[in-house]
């Protein structure tokens, strides 16, 4: 295993890590720079942008919209995905393969295609675009992640406990509630957090479906043209990034248990 150039691989790894963190570092740098232009030399340290952020109603509203959509869609996706997982692992029925394929397929269909297809659906049925339509789309794309996480957890547990509960007189809904759900609960929480981060960051679908209530990525996109608004957006983005990372680490922690 000892190669002639043992130090090359780590050097490459850390160079690439540097390359990956460079843009994030640059964003952070300009969120505490006092000038609005993104060029060197830096103008000096300032927290003005963070301060302005909390005075800017549209920015906060967009962040709140994203929070609502992400919370709603992750709960819906977790509920639906858990149903699919229980069916996939514990039931035998006709068209089972079809249901599983159907619930993983949103992972494959390009977002641009799904986005315009949903736009068509809502237009045909005269449903106004709103946070609800964004949430519906996010539920569809988050569902595969939930199924992958929850089904693999359920597959790791022996069915005997459920049979024992039923032998002792519990009906199936009770068994689900008292045995199955507590067993897979950590996976459900992890799946919900994953779905939350998927939705919170999602832009390609939201751009088509958001209507007049922008989610944070859509709002961010609409503000990109105005250079003087950017530092505030970046300040918020840095805060959101910290929030997302906290959630991701929480999800990993819970999943590993």
């Amino acid at each position: 295993m000892k190669s002639g150039r043992p130090s090359l691989l780590p050097a490459y790894f850390f160079a690439l890590i540097g390359f990956l963190y460079l843009p994030i570092f640059v964003l952070f740098l300009f969120s505490i720079n006092s000038n609005t232009s993104f060029s060197f030399p830096l103008q000096g340290f300032s927290l003005t942008w963070y301060q302005q952020l909390f005075d800017s109603a549209p920015v906060l509203r967009a962040a709140r919209n994203s929070l609502f959509v992400a919370a709603g869609s992750s709960l819906a996706a977790t509920a639906l995905g858990t149903m699919v997982s229980i069916l996939a692992i514990r039931f035998q029925f006709r068209f089972k393969g079809l249901l599983i394929a159907l619930s993983v397929l949103p992972l494959i269909v390009p977002y641009i295609v799904l986005g315009v297809a949903l736009l068509l659906l809502f237009s045909v049925f005269h449903i106004d675009r709103s946070l609800w339509t964004v949430g519906i789309a996010h539920t569809v794309v988050a569902l595969p992640y939930v199924v992958l996480i929850v089904a693999s957890r359920l597959a790791g547990f022996n069915e005997n406990i459920e049979e024992a509960a039923m032998d002792l007189g519990a009906d199936y809904p009770t068994t689900l509630r008292r045995i199955v759900l507590p067993t897979i609960f950590p996976a459900m929480v992890s799946a919900a957090l994953t779905a939350f981060t998927v939705s919170f960051d999602e832009f390609a679908l939201a751009l088509f479906l958001a209507g007049t209530q922008p989610t944070f990525p859509v709002y961010l996109f609409s503000q990109l043209r105005f250079a003087n608004r950017l530092p505030v957006m970046i300040a918020l983005a840095v805060l959101l990034m910290i929030g997302t990372l906290t959630l991701v680490f929480a999800a990993e922690r819970i999943r590993r248990k």
Binding site: P41, V116, L120, L148, D171, F203
Partner: protein
Amino acid sequence: MGEGQRRGGLDRRATFPFLYLPPLLWLGFFFIVPLILMLAFSFRADMKGDLFAAFMPTLKQYASLFATGSYWRLLGISASMAFGVACAAVVLSYPIAYFLAFRAGDRAGFYLVLLLVPFWTSYLLRVMAWKIMLGTEGVINSFLIYVGLIQEPLGALLYSRTAVIITLIYVWIPFATLPILAALQRITPDLFEAAADLGAPPLRQFTRIALPLSMPGILAAFFMVFIPTIGEYVTPLLVGGSRGSMYGNIIQDFFTKAANWPFGSAMSMVMLAATLILVAVATRLIKFRDLLQ
């Protein structure tokens, strides 16, 4: 076993629809129906009349799509861009996966998290960061001028296909590492020792053991980047400008600016078909199930 089991069986059957119908209806109504509507729309002649009204199906949209060379060329360009991005992402992430699998030792877990953190941060934001860096008055240009390396800003950095490709490679590297790492971790280190004992030099150990045994991971990484990149429209929108457009941007234009939904639907169906064919090829080549464990 008597009563309990039988009663349980009945309960299970009674519970089944409650588990089955909600996801089926949701996916049916919000995933399958929209795609069918889109298929139907692609056979419409124009946007006239109510969206729900009956119409005479026509192949007009497909005919004009097939007749217009520039759309095909753009689909070809998008596919080649995705191909290049996928190849570059695989080549660049292979050493990382190799390092994590065999050389990082106890710290591999920590290094993996370090690698994935950028992937978990906002996509739009990372792309925007590249925009800030590549712009004419952006970080790279102003830094180079500041330190005196150049006098005039380099214009070609932003709003080009190159900018789109660089940004996409950057975005995908952590993601492409994962399947390769999964494949490498399944190789028993004994194999390398045996090869070394038999006199194989390190390079030969790599080409005869690590490379062939990690091929499923390489293919998985390739397709996991290639497939979503063909349908990409956000990255070109942000850093590509008009010169960096991809097929997805034209679809977006037909649904927004041009408001020619039937034609946009036909273009989307072509994109969907291309994607499904690629997925079929990928699943033939790789057993994804093995990599998930």
